[in-house]
Amino acid sequence: MGAPQARFVRLAETDRARVTIRVDGVDVEALAGDTLLVAVLTYQGWLRRSEFGGEARSGFCLMAACQDCWVWTEAGDRLRACDTPVRAGLSILTEQPDTSWPIRG
C-alpha cells in the first residue's frame, strides 16, 4: 500500500524543525509549530470518523468552535486537534479507545 493521500498542502514555512508524532501507531513526520490537525492532514486525508454516520471527517472550523476534530490519546484523553500543538512523541488515536457509541442505522 502506498502512502496515504494528504489533504492539506503546505505552501510556505517548510524549513521548520521536524517533529515525529504517532498516528494510530504509525510514525508521522510533522513540523514544529504545526497544530495536530495540520500534522495529520498533511499526512492523510482525514482525522476521525463520524460517530453517527461513520464517514471520514477532517475538521470543519479550525477555530475551536465545531468540535469536529477530536482525536484521542492512548490513555483515552480527548484532544481538539485544531488547537493542540504537536510535540515530539505525541501518540494519538483517531478512534476513541474502549468506547462504543450508538451508531445510527
Binding site: Q5, R7, F8, V9, R10, L11, A12, E13, T14, R16, A17, A32, G33, D34, T35, V38, L41, T42, G45, W46, L47, S50, F52, G53, G54, E55, A56, R57, S58, G59, F60, C61, L62, M63, A64, A65, C66, Q67, D68, W70, D77, R78, D83, P85, R104
Partner: protein, 458 residues
C-alpha cells in the same frame, strides 16, 4: 467601589482595546481568552518559529494588526491575562472558567464579553464530507499554518470573506477552482450608498475582486448551491451549482470553503440573561445593546463581532466604548469628546455593516430547497427530513422543541453551524415567520467539558 473586579472575555480586536481603555482608566482587568495567543481570529498570530512577515499575513491591515499586537504586549504586565482559559458559563455574577481540567468561578463587578463570531452556514447536500470547511477555517489554515485546505479549492457562499480568502489563497500559490457567490451583483450595486460610508474598504473590496478575475479565477455571482459531491471515504470531489442563467455547472475539486458572512457568538450573553431582539435584515436574534455596548443587564457589556458584525475596525471602537461605559457606570469621570468621536465612528461602521448585509444577503430562501436527505446537523448526522418531520408531524415548530425531538442543535457544536439554518428550515416547512420559530437558547457549558473537569475555588 474599591478595586472593582472587571473581567473581559476575549483577546481579539474588541477585547484588547477594552483592556487598554480599562488600564488607562486605572483598572487591572482579568482578560480570559480561549486561545494560546492574543489577536482573535482576524489578527491571529502565527506560531513561534514561523517566519513570514506580517504583511504576508495581514495584507492591507498589517499596520492595524501590528498596533493591536504591540498594544497587547505592552498591556500584559498591567492586566491579569489568562490565555487557554475557556469561559463556559455565566451565572449569579460569576464567570465560570476552565483551564487544564480545573474550573473556577470568578466574581465580577463589570463584565465585557467580546466573544467574536464564527462563519454563518447554510447546509448543502454533502457538506459533511471530509474536505468541506468553513471559510474561516480555510483562512486560518493559511494564516496560522501556511497550508491550503486542498489541492484544488472551491469557495462557495457569500460575504466579504468569500473573495478575501479566495484572493489570499491565489496570492499564496494555492489553486482556486472557482468563487461561487450566492449574492447577485445587483445587490452590491444597491448597497453602494451604505458601503460608501467606508470608501477605503469599499475600494479594497473592488480591487480584490478585480485581482481575482485577472488571475483567471472564475467569480460567478447569483449562483444556487446544489450539492457537494464526494464519498464517505475520500471526501469532497466537486461541487454542483445552478448559475444565474439557469445552467447547472459542476466544478471538480478536493476541498470547499463555505460560509455566508458571520454570526455572533452570543451564548455567554444569553447565559448572562441579556435580552435579545430579532433583526429582520439579517434574520437573526441579537443581544440588545445601546451605542456603547450596554446590555439589558446591569454591568454586562458586549463588544465586537460577538454582538454586531462591524468587522475588526468596528470591534476596536466598540471595545473602547464598552470599557468607557463600564468605567462610567463604576463612577469614573469620562472624556466626553473622545467618546463622542468613537460613537460617530461607530455609527459609520454600523452603516457599513448594514450595507454589507444588503450586498451579501443571508440566502434564507435556500432552506426550503435543501433536499430531505441532506444532513443539517453535521455533529450527529441528522437529516433535513427528520427536522421537517418533527416540525410538521409533532408540532415542534419552536426551535428548542424541534431540537429536543430531532437533536438538531444538540450536538457538540451546540448549534453554532446548524442553528440559524435549522430555524429557516422549520420556518419554511411550517410557513411560520422566523421570529416565531425563535432561536436556540444558549446552554452551559458553551463548549463541551471533559467529564473529569474538577472544581477549584480561588
Amino acid at each position: 467601589m474599591a478595586n472593582p473586579r472587571v473581567i473581559i472575555i476575549g483577546a481579539g480586536s474588541a477585547g484588547v482595546r477594552a483592556a487598554q481603555t480599562l488600564v488607562e482608566g486605572g483598572m487591572r482587568p482579568i482578560v480570559i481568552d480561549e486561545s494560546a495567543r492574543d489577536g482573535g481570529q482576524i489578527y491571529r498570530r502565527q506560531p513561534e518559529g514561523f517566519s513570514r512577515p506580517k504583511s504576508a499575513l495581514y495584507g492591507s491591515e498589517t499596520a492595524r494588526a501590528e498596533a493591536l499586537h504591540s498594544t497587547f504586549d505592552d498591556l500584559k504586565s498591567r492586566i491579569d491575562y489568562r490565555p487557554r482559559h475557556l469561559a463556559w458559563n455565566i451565572a449569579d455574577g460569576h464567570v465560570h472558567v476552565v483551564h487544564e481540567g480545573a474550573s473556577d468561578a470568578l466574581p465580577y463587578d463589570a463584565l465585557i464579553i467580546a466573544a467574536g463570531a464564527t462563519d454563518r452556514l447554510m447546509p448543502v447536500k454533502g457538506w459533511h464530507f471530509a474536505g468541506a470547511y468553513s471559510l474561516g477555517a480555510a483562512q486560518i489554515a493559511l494564516k496560522a499554518q501556511a497550508s491550503a485546505i486542498g489541492r484544488r479549492v472551491i469557495f462557495m457562499g457569500t460575504g466579504p470573506l468569500l473573495q478575501l480568502v479566495a484572493s489570499q489563497y491565489v496570492k499564496a500559490g494555492a489553486k482556486v477552482v472557482a468563487v461561487l457567490d450566492t449574492s447577485p451583483f445587483s445587490a452590491q450595486i444597491k448597497a453602494l450608498p451604505k458601503l460608501i460610508a467606508r470608501p477605503d474598504v469599499l475600494f479594497k473590496g473592488i480591487k480584490l475582486v478585480a485581482g481575482l478575475k485577472l488571475s483567471g479565477v472564475p467569480v460567478l455571482r447569483g449562483i444556487t448551491p446544489l450539492e457537494i459531491h464526494g464519498d464517505a471515504e475520500t471526501g469532497v470531489t466537486g461541487v454542483s451549482v445552478r448559475l444565474a442563467s439557469g445552467e447547472i455547472r459542476r466544478f471538480e475539486g478536493d476541498a470547499v470553503g463555505l460560509g455566508y458572512h458571520l454570526r455572533p457568538e452570543t451564548q455567554l450573553a444569553d447565559l448572562a440573561q441579556c435580552a435579545f431582539d430579532f433583526d429582520a435584515q439579517t434574520r437573526q436574534f441579537r443581544p440588545r445593546i445601546d451605542i456603547d455596548g450596554r446590555t439589558s443587564v446591569a454591568n454586562v457589556y458586549l463588544a465586537g463581532d460577538g454582538v454586531l458584525t462591524q468587522g475588526a475596525d468596528g470591534a476596536e471602537i466598540s471595545g473602547r466604548l464598552a470599557a468607557f461605559a463600564a468605567l462610567a457606570d463604576l463612577g469614573h469621570a469620562m472624556p466626553d469628546s473622545r467618546i463622542n468621536t468613537l460613537r460617530q465612528d461607530r455609527a459609520r461602521m454600523e452603516l457599513f455593516r448594514e450595507g454589507l448585509a444588503e450586498a451579501f444577503p443571508w440566502p434564507h430562501s435556500l432552506a426550503a430547497g435543501i433536499p430531505d436527505e441532506a444532513i443539517v446537523c453535521r455533529c450527529e448526522g441528522v437529516r433535513a427530513s427528520e427536522l421537517r418531520g418533527v416540525a410538521l408531524e409533532k408540532g415542534a415548530s419552536e426551535l428548542n422543541r424541534a431540537k429536543a425531538f430531532s437533536r438538531v442543535g444538540m450536538g457538540r457544536c451546540q448549534g453554532r453551524y446548524c442553528g440559524h439554518a435549522a430555524a429557516e428550515i422549520v420556518a419554511a416547512a411550517t410557513g411560520l415567520p422566523l421570529e416565531k420559530v425563535g432561536r436556540l437558547r444558549g446552554q452551559a457549558p458553551v463548549k463541551p467539558l471533559a467529564i473529569s473537569t474538577r472544581r477549584v475555588d480561588s
